[in-house]
């Protein structure tokens, strides 16, 4: 097998990340130094982000038969690596209070990022499986990093057992696909579907269904959502930032890649099942979010309904580009507002007493102590609920226009109901911020804890970005509409 220079360049983001992992590992082995490790991993991530600029010239390209890079995957790569960088930055201040080993956190993060990157550019079932495991096993470490805390181990075990069992199912699905196609590349799968377009083989469909099931577990769509609130609660907010942004977006991109053929080949079973799952998860997520008292559990439930909204764009079959555009916009809005809200939570939480700031009641009257902090939070929550002048609204606008364009009546009604319920649940937290402060010990401690001015400033910039893109979304629409994919 000959690898040309071009392919090597195209492969460089992953190579740089691999190199970074090795260097970081060596530096930890020689001399434990928190700052150096942090610097190593940040530089590696930034370099790999920059290398995407060079990769841009040579896409679309196949790197061996295992990987395929096109313009659309570049967009996802940017999002993923960006979110890893952000998680690294936020984890630095958080880990500073740690008296145990701090450096491995970055290592786990980098490993998982490699998994994400390889999943996004995967073109082969084996990479799909390996990447998925590489992505989710290090996150176990991240979830359980604060093992001395109460809910942490529980969350990790829950995630591990469910995730592993679902991975096994995915593996079985892959085996079924292999038994029919005799090859593991995606193109052979498409070929097989094309050949048997009138009566697709039921074993093949079964295999595909199992793979999709594994994905929908990672995305926490309705029947597979059980882990979400508990894991969200037990995880530290820094790890959660990574878990909820990077892994979700990665899996979504892959979901999109696979699901789009099924739409293309008009396999209605998948469509109907997906539509029902989406409807239930939108409604269920927003209703359950209403009753939460813990802010992280609230975010968990709202993320269930968010991923429901996200997958709406999968259902369209006519205008493929439009749904890609809408999913891109929605993802970016999700990225920005998740960074905002989880970043805020992570700023106030020290390593060991994070659970104290978990309840929503803690934030009561925060506006009167720290207006900037609470206005950032307000903007982020409004953006998540999709209210005008935020980028979240633009995403919602796209999805709604997609629904109307494709005439999904049921989905439209569910969408409106879900957003109204969701809005109320977000509004509940926003109101809490502005209520007259009680003589609350925790609220004052939150104010004391926010000592890192530069992080607040950074989040302030992000919230401004949310507002600016909400008013003037052209910039982002241009970027996304230019990155049209060439599907295989």
């Amino acid at each position: 097998m000959i690898i040309t220079i071009n392919q090597l360049i195209a492969f460089s983001p992953l190579l740089i990340l691999l190199l970074t992992v090795i260097i970081t590992m060596l530096s930890i082995a020689c001399n434990r130094n928190h700052f150096v490790t942090f610097l190593c991993s940040i530089i590696g991530l930034i370099l790999s982000l920059l290398s995407l600029y060079i990769v841009r010239m040579s896409v679309p390209i196949d790197v061996t038969m295992l990987f395929h890079i096109d313009k659309y995957s570049l967009l996802y790569l940017v999002i993923i690596i960006f979110s890893s960088i952000i998680s690294c930055i936020f984890s630095y201040s958080w880990l500073k209070n740690c008296i145990y080993n701090r450096e491995e956190f970055y290592l786990l993060l980098l490993f998982s990022t490699i998994g994400c990157v390889s999943l996004i550019i995967a073109n082969h079932m084996s990479i799909l499986f390996i990447g998925m495991e590489l992505m989710s096993l290090p996150t176990l470490g991240l979830i359980a990093y604060t093992y001395f805390k109460r809910n942490s181990l529980e969350a990790a075990i829950k995630y591990m057992i469910l995730s592993c069992s679902v991975s096994v199912l995915a593996l079985f699905g892959i085996a079924l696909i292999y038994s029919i196609t005799g090859s593991l590349t995606f193109s052979s799968l498409i070929y097989e579907l094309l050949v048997s377009i009138t009566h697709p083989d039921s074993v093949l469909l079964c295999g595909l269904g199992l793979v999709i099931l594994a994905f929908s577990f990672k995305l926490s769509i309705f029947p597979f959502h059980i882990w979400t609130p508990d894991v969200y609660r037990g995880t530290s907010s820094v790890a959660l930032m990574y878990l909820s942004i990077a892994t979700k977006i990665t899996v979504l991109s892959l979901f999109f890649k696979i699901f789009i053929f099924l739409i293309f080949f008009h396999i209605d079973v998948f469509n109907i099942v997906l539509e029902i799952m989406l409807c239930i998860s939108i409604i269920f997520g927003s209703i359950m979010a209403l009753f939460q008292t813990s802010i992280k559990r609230f975010l968990g439930y709202s993320s269930i309904s968010q991923s429901g909204y996200l997958l709406t764009s999968l259902l369209s079959s006519n205008d493929f580009n439009f749904s890609l555009e809408s999913i891109g916009i929605y993802l970016i809005s999700y990225l920005l507002s998740s960074i905002g809200i989880l970043g805020l939570i992570s700023i106030i939480s020290h390593l060991d007493d994070e659970s104290q700031f978990d309840s929503i009641a803690c934030y009561r009257g925060l506006f009167w102590y720290n207006p900037i902090f609470s206005s950032i939070m307000t903007i982020m929550l409004f953006s998540l609920s999709g209210i005008p002048i935020t980028i979240g609204f633009i995403g919602k606008f796209y999805l709604l226009s997609l629904i109307i364009k494709e005439n999904f009546w049921l989905l439209g009604i569910v969408f409106i109901t879900g957003s109204i319920i969701g809005m109320y649940s977000y509004l509940r937290i926003v109101t809490c911020l502005y209520l007259a402060p009680l003589d609350n010990f925790n609220t004052k401690r939150i104010v004391v804890n926010i000592n890192s001015k530069k992080y607040v400033f950074f989040l302030f910039i992000i919230s401004l970005l949310v507002l600016i893109l909400g008013i003037y979304p052209n910039a982002i629409i241009d970027i996304i509409s230019k990155s049209e994919p060439i599907i295989f």
């Binding site: 005008p388 226009s401 439209g412 409106i416 109204i420 502005y434 509409s481």
Partner: protein
């Protein structure tokens, strides 16, 4: 460019207030006042431009003023403002009420003055946006974000009832308002998108432009659905009876200067939107539903007038009567008669003036007696100098006494819609008795009768010049409109006639 100033001046003025507030507290009062006066002068000056109207056709623009820059070209959305006589009238009304609410709040707001004026001016700015925007997306945009300043106005400066049990009610009411308006917004967005895509399917032009969408050809079924969506969205804000839950609570807990804004401006946006969008867009289905909507208006008129009886809180009473007048507006809008349409505009403007005057007076009364409960008042006539007299005038104006604009508005509505809907209108006319009773009860309970013992504050006889000025200003405007309604009628005649022609053409064709 001229039209952009109407939105930008209050918007930037609000930001200036917030910034300069830290240096000198008094400055923000003056900035707010100056910016609103500028807007008022400008909006009046619009009347003196050449108001020649072109013949409305698909190709030529019939707006007196227009301004357009592209905003999101991918969707055919542009920042498109335009004004005709109707919008200019609404602009003048908005700026007058804005100035009055600034004067009202002059020395009552004590905390966060800069932020208060930011919210107040933004409400005014966004409602100007609603009255001016012709791009549907832009319209929706203003329609939605106007809730934020109103929400914050209520959260921070809302009325506090000194009772342990009710301490959080202000927030509940604010949330209620927010949720109602978000529901209205979502339904509106859904229907707008529906309209736009059905236009796209037939013409392959993706555009949110009002003039283009007016000519959309829709199937009967689809038109009905979209029309109902628009109507639902507007009627939540109007509000008519099944959806009126938010308004009264909002009035109860919102600050007095804020409820003036709400009643004066926010409710009028819905009337304006019904006239501007619902009827020209969907004349056919509006005709088929017109009787149902008129019936809804009828129910609103009577139900709220009756409920107003049982109120003890003056503000709640006024709020209910103002809903009742909105019922009249609804009846008139769907009656498709030119006289009734003129009446709607007259009524909208004069009720905005008279109810806001009443709110102002309630505010002044509250400052002196520290209560709004009518059971705790009584016998105030001789205790305060000017307020009772003014209250009497505005209460009587509110029940529609000849010589004020209110009378003319109601008269024209009833006269205009009588021709086609004689029975409904003649029953509706009886509601005037109910509303007269309401007003009289309010006056009687508050100012006459025995002075109650529970009153524990010392009544100050002194009334400041500013307070008298507000009342005199509103009073003279009401009487001016009452005696010379043609000032308003001449301006609004042509745009209203355009709207009505579309509507009644359909009525003629369906009736024949």
């Amino acid at each position: 460019m001229l039209l952009l100033i109407f939105i930008m001046v209050p918007f930037l003025g609000g930001i200036l207030c917030l910034i300069l507030d830290q240096y000198d507290i008094k400055v923000s009062h003056y900035i707010a006042l100056i910016s609103m006066s500028m807007v008022l002068i400008l909006s009046v000056s619009l009347l003196f431009y050449d108001l020649t109207i072109y013949i409305p056709s698909i190709y030529s623009s019939y707006w007196n003023f227009e301004y357009e820059i592209p905003w999101i070209p991918q969707f055919g959305i542009s920042f498109h403002l335009a004004a005709d006589g109707l919008s200019i009238l609404m602009l003048i009304l908005t700026s007058i009420l804005g100035i009055i609410s600034i004067l009202c709040a002059w020395d009552k707001v004590r905390k966060y003055i800069g932020f208060f004026y930011l919210n107040l001016l933004w409400i005014l700015s966004f409602s100007m946006g609603i009255f001016l925007s012709i791009d549907l997306f832009l319209f929706f945009f203003f329609w939605e974000i106007i809730t934020f300043p109103a929400y914050f106005l209520m959260m921070f400066w809302g009325h506090k009832i000194n009772n342990k049990k009710f301490c959080c009610n202000r927030y509940i009411a604010a949330n209620k308002f927010f949720m109602y308006s978000q529901c209205s917004g979502l339904i509106l967005l859904f229907s707008i998108l529906f309209l736009v895509y059905s236009n796209y399917l037939s013409t392959h032009i993706l555009s949110f432009n009002y003039d283009l969408l007016r000519n959309t050809s829709l199937s009967c079924m689809l038109e009905t659905y979209i029309m109902l969506g628009f109507f639902l969205a507007f009627s939540i804000k109007l509000p008519i009876v099944p959806f009126h839950g938010w308004l009264v609570d909002f009035h109860t807990y919102s600050p007095i200067f804020g409820s003036l804004d709400i009643s004066g401006i926010l409710l009028k946006t819905a009337v304006y939107a019904l006239l501007r969008f619902n009827i020209p867009f969907f004349p056919h289905s509006s005709v088929s539903f017109s009787y149902i909507f008129m019936l809804l208006g009828f129910i609103t008129v009577f139900y709220t007038a009756l409920v107003a009886f049982s109120q003890d809180d003056i503000k709640r009473l006024i709020a209910y009567t103002s809903i009742s007048h909105m019922g009249f507006a609804l009846i008139a809008i769907y009656s498709a008669s030119q006289i009734a349409y003129q009446g709607v505009v007259l009524q909208t403007i004069s009720y905005a003036l008279s109810t806001s005057a009443l709110y102002c007076l309630v505010g002044q009364l509250f400052q002196r007696t520290d209560t709004r409960d009518m059971r705790n008042m009584g016998g105030l006539w001789s205790s305060i100098n000017w307020i009772p007299g003014f209250s009497l005038f505005f209460a009587v104006a509110n029940l529609g006494i000849p010589g004020t604009g209110n009378f003319l508005g109601e008269f024209m509505i009833l006269l205009g819609s009588f021709k086609n809907h004689a029975l409904l209108v003649s029953i509706t006319a009886f509601s005037l008795i109910v509303s007269a009773l309401c007003s009289l009860i309010m006056i009687q309970k508050t100012y006459f009768g025995h002075a109650t013992v529970t009153r524990n504050t010392v009544i100050v006889k002194y009334v400041s010049f500013r307070e008298i000025f507000i009342s005199v200003l509103l009073l003279s405007m009401l009487i001016l409109i009452g005696f010379f309604p043609n000032i308003i009628l001449n301006i609004s005649e042509i745009p209203l006639n355009n709207i009505r022609t579309i509507f009644s053409n359909f009525i003629l064709t369906t009736r024949l």
